[in-house]
């Protein structure tokens, strides 16, 4: 088992109302088999034993699927490894002497709550505005009543794989939430079940997205580059098409 020694510069901020700054910590003997979050656990255990306040960070499943974790490491959301959440980033990606700057996902629409924890409830409100098929429980037709081509199901699944972590927003120079929003719009407009409400959905979700303070897309492709689930910006094109079609008809 090999180990490395690191310098960390971590964003510390007491709460939403206070100012934050970067503080420096050193860690030695970090096993390269550790995940990034386990490395933060080690730091927090050390800070606790020194009577200092541990670093607050969001995390839950630690399997890369719940979307709860995420920080910007040396300027890259979720760190240097492609298609990887922070919890699945392992320390073997780093070497002794590295300086790691760890910051929260920053965006106007994601206020910082403490240290690395941000408030991503704007994402929930985007989904609440129309990210669903309006069916009640019960009385639905047999699952095989509507055949869906395998390719369509696969395309919908590609979009549905979004974990709502917010890395796309953090990476975008405009703080846009278009990759997130378009993933849901795409999933539902591709499937026959979602076609009934497609126009109203596109209009409602884009409207809330704008109201929440997210920016617009200028084709930087930064979102796609950091997305831990490899969601493609083709979805944004699809969303724009949906939105324009809806706006023309419903306008």
């Amino acid at each position: 088992m090999s180990t490395i020694d690191l310098t960390l510069q971590i964003w510390r901020q007491k709460n939403s109302d206070s100012l934050g700054n970067l503080q420096t910590y050193t860690l030695t003997g970090i096993s390269t088999d550790m995940s990034f979050l386990e490395m933060l656990d080690v730091l927090n255990e050390k800070l606790t034993k020194e009577g200092k306040d541990p670093v607050a960070f969001d995390h839950d499943c630690r399997e890369g699927i719940c979307g709860m974790c995420g920080s910007v490491i040396n300027g890259i959301a979720h760190g240097p490894e492609k298609e990887t959440t922070l919890c699945q980033l392992h320390m073997r990606n780093f070497k002794t002497g590295d300086i790691l700057v760890v910051e929260p996902f920053r965006s106007r629409a994601f206020p910082i709550r403490k240290d690395l924890i941000v408030d991503r409830s704007a994402f929930d409100r985007i989904i609440q505005s129309g990210g669903y098929v309006s069916v009640n429980t019960g009385g639905t037709p047999d699952g095989n009543a509507i055949p869906i081509p395998a390719e369509t199901a696969e395309l919908a699944m590609d979009a549905a794989a979004c974990i709502g972590c917010g890395a796309c927003v953090a990476a975008c120079p405009n703080g846009a939430a278009m990759l997130f929003t378009s993933a849901k719009i795409s999933q539902l407009c591709l499937l026959p079940q979602g076609k009934v409400e497609r126009k109203a959905r596109a209009l409602a979700m884009v409207k809330i997205m704008d109201e929440e303070g997210f920016g617009n897309c200028s084709n930087e492709r930064e979102c796609e580059a950091v997305c831990p689930k490899g969601i493609s910006i083709r979805n944004i094109a699809r969303m724009n098409r949906e939105f324009i079609a809806a706006a023309l008809f419903e306008g």
Partner: protein, 642 residues
């Protein structure tokens, strides 16, 4: 404590219909008068919240994470079972029922399991209608696979992310209701205690995790959908925040806790590699469809796997269970892996692992075919361990995964506290002593979408409730207790941490003790030892735990401390339950109760019952009650996978 199961009369296939007809209803116009609290937003909680709100109840839903979309149901990989028989391979509701009750080693109620199999088909229809992108055949119909050794293909899936897609479906239905005002959502709240007024559940006290405020919430009924208690072991495949607190608070207020010793230990997880490790990662058991499990024949053989010739390998599952081979149920596979490691034949740096080898499958089916099936799992394995399963066998070891035990509930999913319901993994109802693969998702959604609304209507239709307010003395006194307890947790925080312990240190100590003495194989001596040691660990915790910060801010150490404090109490009834169940059944292997071939030996004459524990006070021994299990429609048989 009275355990009335309310199991309906009549033939098995008609019980659920009879029950729904016998239950009272609430007029649609009157439903808005009732307020229901739902705690938890996994499959069970999200689906129950959405369904009750659609029907017109006022629903208030709470979750611990920043968004209801993050609950740990999201991590389920494999799939969801249903008795659709789309593959025309002989499946039926009765077969799914039979497989589930047999898989649970005949320690579940027949009527509950049958209902689960019945509504399984509605779940698939519901999820498809919501836009869940299940895998499809080229002709456009839904695809199925065989899972966990089932003899039929009844598992529906969405790549290796079925739990995620089903949860996002339930979350979307919940989001729709939040938008419409049917559900008021409270994220980042932890339920700290239950409030009982006049013998009925009337609300909860929560802590706002952002600012530490304690809040009282009143209701006409409270639904717990707070998951399982696997994190008692510290290392498990559960999410970091999964905990027993909500169920444990309910238990301490009078709810019976059923079969706490039934803990499923999943055979295919990535082995433990260091003290710093925070959790274990499950690899879908679909891997056992093509992977062959083996260890070196000679103990202590540390050669690289590729250099061990065929004749010096022990394919122990294939050898011992020729008809099921590598596809034996989870409990059997786990136990055998442990047995090999105990004999010194374990592999890897710790000796606590066995090989899962795809070499033969790759030779037979080509690398491309194997990658198509398991590519994402191989990738995940490589990310964590830096090993590539295409070139060398995977290493796997069992890990705590799911808890079949939980709050005791009747057929209506109501606990022994009137007005308190428990759904999903949080209750004990359907899986007996062992859960089959792809059945957890099924049960969570069955409870939430299709069962609970009938129960709530019946409860409201038969109960007269007076109004309560958040300033009611019952609420104020529970809130004060919660505050006092937090204060006690923080009392060591003044001054220096020298000579004190951290929350994680204590949690690891408890976890290690439970894993060694109340894990895959249990015996009287080990269990008695654990029972003796737990109070000492608990004492050290309360005397010496050091928690930085205060209670009136976002404080993750304090959150963890509260949960560990409850695990320290809960661990004791888990051990006590394992001690009193002097038989082997499903996941629970008592070494004293084995056949001559070292297989689990059930004792139906003495243990065909649900063990239900009643709280009697912190200083008192809990009292064991038994709900007898009778089998009218199936004959309990000894499971054999030879």
């Amino acid at each position: 404590m009275e355990l009335t199961s309310r199991t309906p009369s009549g033939p098995l296939a008609e019980k659920w219909d009879n029950h729904r007809f016998a239950n009272k209803l609430v007029n649609p116009a009157n439903r808005r008068k009732y307020k229901i609290i739902v705690v938890g937003t996994g499959l069970a909680g999200a689906s129950a919240s959405a369904t009750l709100a659609e029907q017109g109840y006022q629903v208030h839903t709470f979750c611990i994470q920043d968004s209801p979309r993050r609950a740990h149901s999201i991590a389920a990989q494999g799939g969801i079972n249903a008795a659709k028989n789309y593959q025309n391979d002989g499946d039926s509701i009765h077969r799914l029922f039979y497989d589930t009750i047999k898989g649970g080693d005949f320690r579940a109620r027949e009527a509950n399991v049958y209902r689960l199999a019945q509504v399984s088909n509605n779940i698939i229809d519901q999820c498809v209608a919501q836009g869940v992108p299940f895998a499809r055949e080229y002709g456009g119909t839904l695809a199925n696979r065989s899972f966990g050794g089932a003899q039929v293909s009844r598992t529906f899936y969405a790549r290796g992310q079925t739990g995620q897609q089903l949860l996002l479906g339930a979350y979307s239905a919940l989001s729709r209701q939040i938008h419409k005002g049917g559900v008021k959502m409270y994220p980042r709240r932890e339920m700290m205690d239950l409030v009982i007024v006049d013998g009925r559940a009337r609300g909860i006290v929560t802590r706002n995790l952002i600012n530490g405020t304690l809040e009282n919430h009143t209701a006409d009924a409270v639904i717990l959908a707070t998951g399982g208690y696997g994190n008692a072991y510290f290392l498990s495949t559960n999410a970091m925040a999964s905990n027993v607190t909500a169920s444990w608070r309910a238990y301490k207020q009078g709810a019976g806790f059923a079969n706490p010793c039934f803990v499923q230990i999943h055979p295919t997880c990535i082995p433990v590699h260091g003290d710093y490790q925070s959790k274990l990662t499950l690899m879908s058991e679909s891997l056992r469809n093509d992977g062959r499990v083996w260890v070196p024949l000679a103990a202590g053989d540390k050669r690289a796997p590729s250099t061990i010739p065929e004749a010096e390998r022990d394919y122990f599952l294939e050898k011992k269970y020729p008809s099921f081979g590598n596809l034996v149920p989870r409990d059997v596979a786990s136990r055998n892996a442990k047995e090999q490691c105990d004999q010194g034949k374990g592999v890897g740096s710790t000796g606590l692992a066995v090989y899962l080898d795809f070499g033969d499958a790759i030779k037979r089916d080509s690398q491309e075919t194997i990658l198509k099936k398991y590519g994402n799992l191989f990738q995940m394995y490589e990310k964590i361990t830096a090993g590539n399963p295409l070139n060398e066998p995977m290493m796997i070891y069992p890990a705590v995964h799911y808890t079949m035990g939980g709050l005791w509930v009747d057929y209506d999913l109501m606990t022994t506290i009137p007005g308190l319901f428990a759904l999903g993994e949080c209750n004990f109802s359907d899986h007996g002593a062992n859960r089959l693969g792809a059945s957890a998702l099924m049960q969570g959604l069955a409870d939430g979408y299709f069962v609970i609304s009938t129960s709530i209507a019946h409860y409201m239709g038969t109960t007269k409730l007076d109004a309560v307010s958040i300033t009611d003395p019952h609420f104020l006194s529970i809130q004060k207790n919660v505050g006092d307890r937090l204060h006690r947790l923080l009392r060591n925080s003044n001054g220096s941490p020298t000579g004190k312990v951290t929350v994680d240190e204590i949690h690891k100590e408890l976890g290690k003790l439970l894993w060694n003495n109340c894990g895959m194989a249990r015996n009287r001596q080990g269990l008695e030892e654990a029972l003796e040691k737990i109070p000492g660990i608990r004492e050290t915790f309360w005397d010496k735990v050091y928690i930085p910060g205060t209670g009136s801010e976002l404080n993750q150490s304090l959150e963890r401390a509260g949960r560990v404090a409850d695990f320290l109490e809960f661990g004791e009834i888990m051990v006590r339950d394992a001690l009193t169940r002097e038989e082997s059944c499903g996941c629970h292997l008592r070494e004293e109760s084995q056949t001559e071939e070292n297989e689990a030996k059930r004792d139906d004459a003495n243990f065909s019952h649900v063990s239900v524990w009643e709280y009697k006070g912190d200083e008192e021994t809990p009292v064991l009650h038994k709900e007898p299990l009778t089998f009218e429609f199936v004959t309990p048989s000894q499971r054999s996978y030879k």
